[in-house]
């Protein structure tokens, strides 16, 4: 139940469409019931198709994705009848009682503290003092501040809210066109799901963990760990930030947008000292994970406590009395994601026990699909899904399906994870459900249609980057290999 564009929101009477939306899942469920009582005979592949059709039909009604996943699994189990449905209830518990998954609520909590704790403003000041005097100064500073904030918060929405709500008014005040600022921030905010720590990368690791698909040579391919993905996201994140910065610089130079006064060394130093507490969190989290001091979950817990501490006691921008509100917001956000995770875990457990991804992988290799074609199709499917669904849900549903196929073709799981993250970034920046656009629209009071035009140059840059990440695996795999985390 997220969002809509103005064009789509135009009320149109559609009683027949409404009836269809409700009728399709009911009919599909009835087919399942008929199959249960042996009135009609369904082959294995038809059953699999029925499962996906039911899932899509239920999702089309606008019900929570988690509920659609759970209901389609229950219906399918009802046809199968060989698996005890009681297992589903238990699975809903055991699929999240793992310590690794707790990184997600911790990072969300840390992000919420940072957004309301004055860290964002200091990062912007620091970035502005460093590069504000270049062409498109404040825009460039926005890109850098987004990258810095992304490196501590793990979510793209937190990044857009945290940085955007402060820098966008400033950009307009300093004489830049609002479109320019909104375009920069809406796209740069998406760095949040690529730059480690990223909640999306944790979700990818969670969704594929424990799966043991076979590679092209028949050997078992291990799924990617959170630590590997975090290190792997660093180079693509920096590259994308640089490319977005270059686009910003080029447009500012072409249109001769105003530049900021060069900051003196003293001012730079002061900005750095002010922002140091926030910047130190990057070292704490990434350094801690890489040096082996913390597991990703422990690093996330440290980040949450640290963010609480600096927001309340160092920067003093968050009152103790407001802490319960932050806790509540973070926990309902995490509960929503954890609820999708539980249901997606049941869904992928069903897929795996029915061997559906494996048979899809078999079929694909039998058709002579190569890596290039597979990656192209993957991108198209993910970009299409980005038009309808939330990134977390897409990763949870698609990763367990794509991973066995990718493994079969010899695509590295870490590469797949980064590729999915970049795809999700693109999805966040275009309508109809691009969440970043809605957040930016809320801050700038610009319409979605106008914003869609505003983000185009940066969206184009992102698509170029997507092609690069897709077909040059070394971008994602080089750093973890150099650091000896991958073979």
């Amino acid at each position: 139940m997220t969002t809509q564009t103005e064009a789509l929101a135009r009320p149109r009477n559609g009683t027949i469409t409404a009836m269809l939306i409700v009728a399709i899942p009911i009919v599909l469920a009835l087919i399942c019931v008929l199959a249960r009582f042996d009135i009609i005979e369904l082959s294995q592949s038809v059953r699999a198709a029925l499962l996906f059709a039911l899932l899509l039909a239920l999702m089309a009604t606008g019900m929570p994705i988690s509920i659609a996943l759970g209901l389609s699994v229950l219906t399918y189990l009802f046809i199968l009848s060989s698996v005890d449905p009681k297992m589903v209830g238990l699975k809903l518990f055991t699929s999240i009682d793992r310590f690794e998954i707790m990184a997600i609520p911790f990072f969300i909590l840390a992000g919420n503290f940072l957004t309301s704790g004055g860290v964002a403003r200091r990062m912007i000041d620091f970035a502005t003092s460093m590069i504000g005097h270049w062409y498109g100064g404040l825009g460039l500073a926005g890109v850098v501040a987004c990258a810095l904030f992304a490196a501590i918060s793990g979510s793209s929405v937190a990044t857009v809210v945290g940085i955007g709500s402060i820098i966008l008014p400033a950009i307009v005040q300093n004489g830049y066109p609002p479109r320019f600022g909104a375009g920069v921030i809406a796209t740069s905010g998406a760095l949040g799901i690529l730059f480690p720590p990223s909640i999306n990368l944790v979700i990818f690791a969670v969704a594929t963990s424990g799966m043991q698909p076979r590679g092209p040579d028949g050997a078992i391919v291990d799924s990617a760990s959170v630590g590997q993905l975090f290190i792997a996201g660093l180079v693509p994140g920096l590259m994308l930030a640089t490319m977005l910065g270059m686009t910003t610089y080029y447009r500012a130079w072409r249109n001769d947008y105003p530049r900021m006064k060069r900051a003196s060394w003293g001012e730079c130093l002061r900005a750095f000292r002010d922002g140091f507490w926030g910047l130190f969190l990057i070292i704490l989290v990434l350094g801690g994970i890489y040096s082996g001091l913390f597991t990703p979950t422990e690093a996330a817990a440290m980040a949450a406590v640290y963010a609480f501490f600096i927001s309340v006691f160092v920067y003093k921008e968050l009152k103790l009395a407001d802490v319960p509100a932050v806790l509540l917001k973070a926990s309902s956000m995490s509960a929503m994601i954890l609820y999708i995770i539980t249901n997606a875990a049941v869904f992928s457990w069903l897929l795996t026990s029915e061997q559906i991804p494996q048979s899809m992988a078999e079929w694909m290799t039998a058709q002579g699909f190569g890596t290039v074609a597979f990656l192209l199709v993957t991108n198209i499917v993910l970009l299409a899904a980005g038009n309808f669904m939330d990134p977390a849900a897409i990763v949870l549903i698609m990763a367990p399906i794509l991973f066995p196929m990718a493994a079969r073709l010899g695509v590295h799981p870490v590469h797949l994870g980064i590729l999915m993250a970049v795809n999700m970034e693109v999805g966040l920046c275009h309508p109809p459900v691009g969440l970043n656009l809605y957040v930016a629209s809320g801050i700038t009071k610009m319409g979605i249609t106008e914003l869609t035009v505003a983000v185009l140059p940066w969206l184009g840059t992102m698509l170029v980057f997507l092609v690069m990440v897709t077909y040059i695996p070394e971008i994602s795999l080089w750093l973890p290999r150099v650091l000896g985390m991958l073979y």
């Binding site: 139940m1 929101a9 409404a18 988690s66 009681k86 929503m336 979605i448």
Partner: protein, 218 residues
């Protein structure tokens, strides 16, 4: 927005108490789990560093410093925190179950609403009712399956580290699911009464961008 027919103060108050209780449980769980994990990490790191420090100090002939570090190490290791990770994990699972129920009330669960939003408010109504009813159906089934599972669980079975009875830990499945089911029914009732469906995305309420679903239908 009252759930019950106007004038029934008792039920209204009960409803409000349930709301507050729900929020309070969730806040305490997430806060406590974070603190526990933090303390456990600091504890483990402190203990292992105390050993290193003690070795270094004795190698440099600083006997008193080495003794102090040794004492720190012994006193830290005497506190066994191996249960912390398990407790934190269970707290998060409980938080997730109750938070999901809260999410129904606040409308935070994401769904695909591009199709529904294209419909006129009147045409939208049966679709939203159907979606909410499916939510109530699913959570009701899961609650029942969970209750049966908990009931059939061996009463002597305990968790690994904490050694708490498993049935208490698993109790969050039926409790959370039934609460969620109740919330779905409540939202349905309110929608029927007032045409209002709670709706937000990622905890952000956009000014001027509220989905039409959230506006009262005439």
């Amino acid at each position: 927005m009252g759930l019950w027919p106007k004038g029934n103060i008792l039920l209204d108050v009960l409803d409000r108490i349930l709301d507050r209780l729900e929020e309070w449980i969730i806040c305490v769980l997430i806060g406590a789990a974070t603190c526990i994990t933090f303390v456990a990490v600091v504890h483990r790191y402190g203990a292992s560093n105390a050993v290193v420090f003690a070795t270094w100090a004795s190698a440099h002939g600083l006997t008193w410093l080495s003794d102090a570090a040794d004492w720190l190490y012994v006193s830290l290791t005497s506190i066994n925190l191996s249960w912390a990770q398990e407790l934190a994990t269970y707290m998060f699972v409980w938080m997730a179950k109750f938070g999901a129920a809260l999410g129904v009330r606040t409308g935070i669960h994401v769904g695909v609403d591009v199709f529904v939003n294209r419909l006129s408010p009147e045409a939208r109504k049966p679709v939203i009712m159907f979606a909410l009813a499916c939510g109530a159906l699913f959570t009701g089934i899961i609650g029942t399956l969970g209750a049966v599972y908990v009931y059939e669980l061996d009463a002597d079975q305990v968790s690994q580290e904490l050694e708490w009875p498993s049935w208490i830990i698993y109790l969050c499945i039926p409790l959370g699911s039934y609460l969620m089911c109740f919330r779905f029914l409540q939202v349905m009732w309110r929608y029927q009464q007032s045409g209002y469906v709670p709706h937000q995305a990622h905890g952000i309420e956009y000014q001027g961008q509220q989905a039409p679903v959230a506006e009262p239908a005439q």
